[in-house]
């Protein structure tokens, strides 16, 4: 089972999204801000991180930057969620996926299935 670290300061988003992801068969770890997420990353390396952008203390961009500095975390795909519109030059951004809130949960699960399916294919080839 794939493990996902879900990071958002809105408790209801964490609560509902975690439940929906669990229903889909994922193991979900939750954190309420970037700093807490970094603490959890030091103990367990998930298969993907889904994080909000605007959070107190450490925001989503900073969380991503700090993950890039750590060799253990650099390859973890990060999905960024934000209430702000998608940046116009989003193709150049480092996120694996950008989701503007509110988004359809199906968009997220479709991406996760595609991503994990592709990474499993790669793993089988190697």
């Amino acid at each position: 089972m794939k493990t996902i670290l879900l990071v958002d300061d809105e408790y209801a988003v964490v609560e509902i999204l975690a439940t929906l992801l669990t229903d889909e068969g994922y193991v979900v770890l939750t954190a309420s801000d970037g700093q807490q997420a970094l603490d959890m990353l030091s103990e367990k390396v998930p298969d993907a991180v889904i994080t909000d952008q605007m959070m107190p203390l450490v925001d989503g961009a900073e969380l991503f930057r700090r993950m890039q500095e750590n060799a253990r975390h650099r390859r973890i795909p990060v999905v960024l969620m934000s209430s702000a519109p998608m940046p116009s030059d989003h193709s150049k951004l480092p996120w694996a996926m950008f989701l503007q809130k509110p988004f359809d949960f199906q968009d997220l699960t479709s991406w996760l299935r595609r991503h994990f399916g592709a990474s499993e294919k790669r793993a089988r080839k190697t």
């Binding site: 209801a12 509902i16 999204l17 229903d23 809130k101």
Partner: protein
């Protein structure tokens, strides 16, 4: 129309109203309509009536389709979840989540949201439930209707501040008349028609009539003025009015009972039929057979025109009518056949249907503007209550202002004989002959005679003598 397109996907909306206001019918009607378009819906009841009882009550309604119940539309009780002590709201939310996912529902009805509140351990607990429900709806794209017994007095209910919209159904007494009203109190993310809109519940469920003056605040089109004059079909009257009435205008015909208003309207329609125009008679008092007989007796051959499809008669016998519903029928009749001339015979029919008299002038203004927008030339007849007397009073407030032209028909006594007289009181932006003339009803209909041979005030007093000129302030008359 009221919500500018409907509820938004993924939004939450409270439908509030006292018991019997129509919430359950509306909730079900929306569900059946939703699944008829290929979507799926879940209806969760909470200590309300049993599903069997609800089905029995819904089954006579035209929207009810038993084939979709249990396949596309699921009825579930959530009451067991509410009995799970402190975790009751969490359990209910989990049930909602599972049902949405299992059935692929894009519409959810929670019937009895106030009962959920009474199971919450604190107001915060309830707010958390609503908040989490909103997030769930956002992620799943499911729209929720939360049916609530709470009404206007309970505006502080926590759920009201957190949902995307609030619609209230009211059943109010207006004198001895019970009136159903729908009011949108809040609707995030889109414009909506504010204020009260009347609705009725019949075998088709709820039928809502958006307030005409709100719906038609701006007419659907504004055609260019062509300056074309149309005949009223009465010998002599066209000349008095400067060559007829301008196309796309409204002419108010005022007169006491028996002065020839209806016959004037029939002449007007017959003149349109002679030009090949589709015409409409919209009346409240004379039945279609009587009206056609009257026209046929005058040689206007209206019965033939009904058979040919040139003339349609929409008759609205008196009853507890909603004036917005009347306007909808009228406009539907105009649009359906691209009608060019209409007679609205008896504006009092609207007055008798009205529940809010203060609306009348705005209502008629919006309605006549829409008719102008549709390129319709109309005659509005209105009965004056006074047979004789020193004053000419337009019975309906604000109506005279919406008509470009006003024609007055009256009976006067001259030398112990009653005579009909006609006078053009107003023609907007054109000149007219303001002389008072005799009006005769013959076996060929109305005939306008020469200027009336009197020297004293006739209309104002009702009995002989003095000036025969009429002038409405601000209007031009060549006399």
């Amino acid at each position: 129309m009221i919500l500018s397109g409907g509820f938004l996907r993924g939004g939450s909306y409270i439908i509030a109203g006292a018991p019997g206001a129509g919430k359950t019918i509306l909730g079900n009607q929306i569900c059946f309509d939703h699944v008829a378009s290929g979507e799926r819906a879940v209806y969760i009841t909470l200590l309300a009536e049993s599903h069997g009882r609800m089905m029995a009550q819904l089954s006579p309604l035209s929207f009810f389709d038993p084939s979709v119940v249990g396949t596309k539309l699921y009825y579930v009780s959530g009451y067991n979840q509410l009995r799970e002590g402190k975790q009751s709201l969490k359990a209910l939310l989990a049930l909602v989540r599972k049902l949405i996912k299992r059935h692929g529902a894009t519409l959810l009805v929670l019937d009895g949201i106030v009962r959920i509140g009474s199971f919450a351990s604190s107001p915060i607990d309830f707010k958390e439930f609503i908040h989490e429900l909103n997030v769930l709806l956002n992620f799943t794209g499911c729209t929720a209707l939360l049916l609530s017994d709470s009404t206007g007095e309970d505006v502080g209910h926590p759920a009201r501040t957190m949902v995307d919209g609030l619609v209230e159904l009211r059943d109010v007494m207006d004198g001895v008349l019970a009136v159903r009203e729908l009011v949108v109190l809040k609707f995030r993310g889109s414009a909506y028609l504010r204020g009260a809109h009347f609705f009725e519940i019949d075998g088709n469920g709820l039928r809502i009539y958006p307030r005409v003056e709100a719906r038609l605040a701006v007419p659907s089109s504004v055609p260019a003025a062509k300056g074309v004059r149309l005949s009223l079909g009465v010998a002599g009257l066209d000349q008095v009015m400067g060559g007829g009435v301008q196309e796309g205008t409204a002419t108010l015909v005022l007169g006491s009972s028996g002065t020839g208003k209806t016959i004037l309207g029939l002449h007007f329609l017959a003149a349109g039929l002679d030009r090949g125009e589709p015409v409409l008679h919209f009346g409240f008092f004379e039945s279609p057979p009587r009206l056609l007989q009257k026209g046929d007796d005058l040689g206007l051959k209206l019965s033939q025109q009904v058979a040919k499809g040139g003339l349609e008669i929409i008759w609205q016998p008196a009853g507890e009518l909603i004036m917005d519903a009347l306007a909808e029928r009228l406009l539907d009749g105009v649009r359906r056949r691209k009608v060019k001339r209409i007679v609205i015979d008896g504006l009092a029919g609207f007055e008798e249907s009205v529940v809010r008299p203060e609306r009348l002038s705005h209502f008629f203004k919006a309605l006549t503007n829409e008719l102008r927008g549709l390129g319709v030339t109309c005659i509005l007849t209105e009965e004056m209550r006074e047979l004789f007397g020193p004053q000419i009073v337009v019975p309906l407030t604000g109506v005279s202002g919406v008509a470009e032209n006003i024609v007055l028909l009256r009976q006067i006594e001259i030398a112990s004989e009653l005579k009909r007289v006609i006078a053009v009181m107003k023609t907007r932006e054109t000149s007219h002959d303001a002389m008072l003339r005799e009006l005769r009803i013959t076996d060929r209909g109305l005939e306008v005679g020469d200027p009336f041979p009197t020297n004293g005030p006739v209309l104002g007093v009702g009995t002989t003598r003095a000036a025969s000129r009429l002038q409405v302030p601000g209007e031009r008359g060549k006399g």
